[in-house]
């Protein structure tokens, strides 16, 4: 019997691996077919992406640096999705917080010691992000309005508002294009050793791991999971569903805001008008693919950062626009959902067997 149990365990492990590998392989293969149809060499494209995003020292460092905002957004999404809340407005929360910090940081850096500047800016970004989730949280908690629509609307609104802020109150008069004042390189988040990677990446990684354990192993995490699994049951159990909805939204949006602060203070130093990396809508599928598991999120975010950095190089070099990465992400989501569906069917068949 023990042999059978071991074989069963090995089989389960294999199936778990396949559930992750198959969607990625499927997305890459269909993406390759699309490249062939467009008259491009898929092997050359994927090879170039891997080379520029992974195998060169500068590319690898750029990929790791890019992980910081993605990880923080993902951490926020884990909180929201675990609570069954579709926070699809992370792009607005991210950008609005980023713009506020971009305006605040250079002004503070002239007056205050750096650690204080960092703390104030991080706190501000969390507050701005959380504030931008108040309306969807209110509509969901009090009126039961679907948060998908309200968060998306707030996101569009936030992106436009961020542009207005850059162009009018926060505009740096010294520059010709509308942009915020620039944070001096010396005042930005410190680099790790001789690399170009800043400490924000470490912070983001710790936050993801912390959120993972908080959600999985603490009382608050259990409440969030109950809310996500069955809101009505959570209400009958005596949980304050309204307050919990507000808290989950604020945490999720606050972390998206923090991602904005880390991206500005670690990398950009300033924000130009119309800059919108739209990280949020790209991170959502990854969090699903990782099944809300923080460690898996880190692995996927790394894979995705390589794809982004490599894809940006490839668009300049091979003439494949970076829109192609969007198509890859969409394929990834579809294949992931399909594999999940097949696994579900398989489980249903297995449990139906006598």
């Amino acid at each position: 019997m023990t042999g059978g149990g071991e074989r069963e365990r090995a089989r389960e492990a294999l199936l778990r691996t396949l559930r992750i590998v198959l969607p990625i392989a499927g997305a890459l293969i269909v993406g390759a077919l699309l490249l062939v149809a467009l008259g491009k060499d898929p092997l050359a494209y994927y090879g170039y992406v891997a080379k520029r995003g992974l195998y060169s020292a500068s590319g690898l460092q750029a990929s790791i640096t890019r992980m910081a905002p993605l990880l923080l957004i993902a951490a926020g999404l884990i909180v929201a999705f675990r609570a069954g809340l579709w926070n699809l407005g992370v792009d607005g929360q991210f950008l609005l917080a980023a713009v506020c910090v971009a305006a605040l940081a250079p002004a503070l850096a002239r007056e205050l010691p750096l650690p204080v500047v960092y703390l104030v800016c991080f706190a501000t970004s969390i507050a701005v992000g959380a504030a931008w989730s108040l309306v969807p949280a209110f509509l969901k908690a009090v009126h039961g309005i679907n948060e998908i629509i309200s968060t998306l609307m707030m996101s569009f609104l936030g992106v436009s508002l961020a542009n207005v802020l850059i162009k009018i109150p926060f505009n740096d008069p010294a520059t010709t294009v509308p942009q915020t004042a620039t944070l001096e390189v010396a005042d930005r988040l410190a680099r790790i050793g001789d690399t170009t990677v800043h400490w924000g990446v470490v912070l983001a990684t710790l936050v993801v791991i912390g959120v993972h354990h908080a959600v999985e192993h603490t009382a608050v995490g259990l409440r969030l999971q109950m809310l996500g699994a069955n809101p009505r049951a959570a209400l009958h159990f005596g949980l304050n569903v309204r307050r919990l909805t507000f808290v989950a939204f604020a945490l999720s949006a606050g972390l998206a805001g923090l991602a904005g602060a880390v991206d500005v203070m670690g990398v950009h130093g300033t924000i130009r008008a119309d800059w919108n990396p739209a990280y949020g809508i790209l991170v959502i599928p990854l969090v699903f693919l990782a099944r809300f598991n923080g460690y898996a999120v880190i692995a996927f975010v790394f894979f995705f950062a390589v794809l982004l950095i490599g894809g940006e190089s490839a668009s300049r070099r091979l003439g494949v626009p970076s829109f192609f990465v969007l198509v890859l992400v969409a394929l990834l989501m579809l294949f992931f959902a399909l594999v999940e569906f097949l696994a579900h069917v398989r489980r249903a068949r297995a449990s139906a067997r006598p």
Partner: protein, 311 residues
């Protein structure tokens, strides 16, 4: 400000409201059909984009507007086929599939446009407009309301047709049942799956036509990501209309006015940053959601896949 409300200003505002509101009306009516049947079609934005791209390219190469609209509709329909297959037949998560379709459509249309036209954005020749006799000759409002592309009148007609379909036809009642109580529809011997597939495909076709209108008539050219959230606004319109097509018509005109305000203000010589104006429609949605929150209605089985015998 006193000379702001001149005849020219009002005429350009109303004309712009109709032009900007028409795609919202067509897509909103489509989404209403799908929501009635219990499918939340978050992929609508993607269907609009596919329609915008396919419609534009077809008209660009054939020179025919009707063929362009039809092709745009078919493009939306093919996109909806994916949605119907994955969400209705395989019961996959409607939200995940919807986001994936929107993302994929954004990337794919931008990519195809890039390979077709590189970095140039060619324009179509101006779309023909049909002036309605007599009404079109009224002062100020005549040209603003009754001198539009033929599709505008078809969209209004569709609204009236849907009122009849929802109230008086078997299909309309089946749609309602598929969203309110799918088990009852199943027990009555009507296929829930078939009804929902039909609803999603009609939504896709209408979304595609709406997108084609945006690129071919509204802008005269195709730009990557050009629908800019119109699909999501259409979803909100359908949600707030509580199943009544006339409410979609009113809402579409209202939001169209918000979108048209930019051009109208420019005509009047008022200088407001475009970003402020771009916020207006979304601000309107949020305000409307807050004010009318208690009145929005969604079918009980919305977003829930139907499996026979499952409670």
């Amino acid at each position: 400000m006193t000379d702001l409300f001149t005849e020219a200003f009002i005429a350009s505002l109303v004309f712009g409201a109709v032009t900007a509101g028409t795609p919202l009306l067509i897509a909103g009516l489509g989404e209403q059909i799908s929501e009635k049947a219990g499918v939340l079609n978050i992929g609508l934005e993607g269907m609009l984009l596919v329609g915008a791209y396919v419609g534009f390219s077809t008209t660009f190469f054939t020179g025919s507007y009707p063929i362009g609209f039809l092709a745009g509709g078919l493009g939306g329909l093919v996109t909806a086929l994916l949605m119907a297959g994955l969400c209705v037949v395989l019961s996959m998560n409607q939200i995940v599939v919807g986001i994936a379709i929107t993302l994929g459509a954004e990337g794919l249309t931008a990519l195809l446009h890039h390979f077709q036209f590189s970095r140039s954005y060619p324009r179509l020749s101006e779309a023909a407009s049909w002036k309605i006799p007599l009404l079109g000759d009224l002062p100020v409002l005549g040209p603003a309301l009754f001198d539009h592309n033929g599709l505008v009148y078809l969209a209004v007609a569709l609204c009236l047709v849907l009122i009849w379909v929802f109230r008086r036809t078997h299909f309309g009642l089946n749609l309602q049942a598929a969203g309110d109580k799918p088990a009852a529809l199943d027990a009555a011997g009507v296929s829930v799956r078939g009804t929902r597939i039909a609803a999603v495909l009609i939504t896709g076709f209408l979304g595609g036509v709406a997108g084609a209108y945006m690129s071919m008539v509204g802008a005269g050219l195709f730009l990557p990501f050009m629908t800019g959230g119109a699909g999501f606004i259409a979803i909100v319109l359908a949600m707030l209309a509580r199943g009544h097509p006339l409410w979609v018509l009113g809402g579409a005109f209202l939001f169209g006015s918000g979108l048209a305000l930019t051009t109208a203000l420019q005509v009047a010589g008022v200088n407001i940053p475009t970003d402020v104006i771009q916020m207006l429609p979304f601000l309107m949605v949020v305000v409307v959601l807050i004010v009318f929150a208690r009145h929005s209605y969604l079918p009980p089985a919305l977003g829930v896949p139907y499996r026979r015998g499952e409670r």
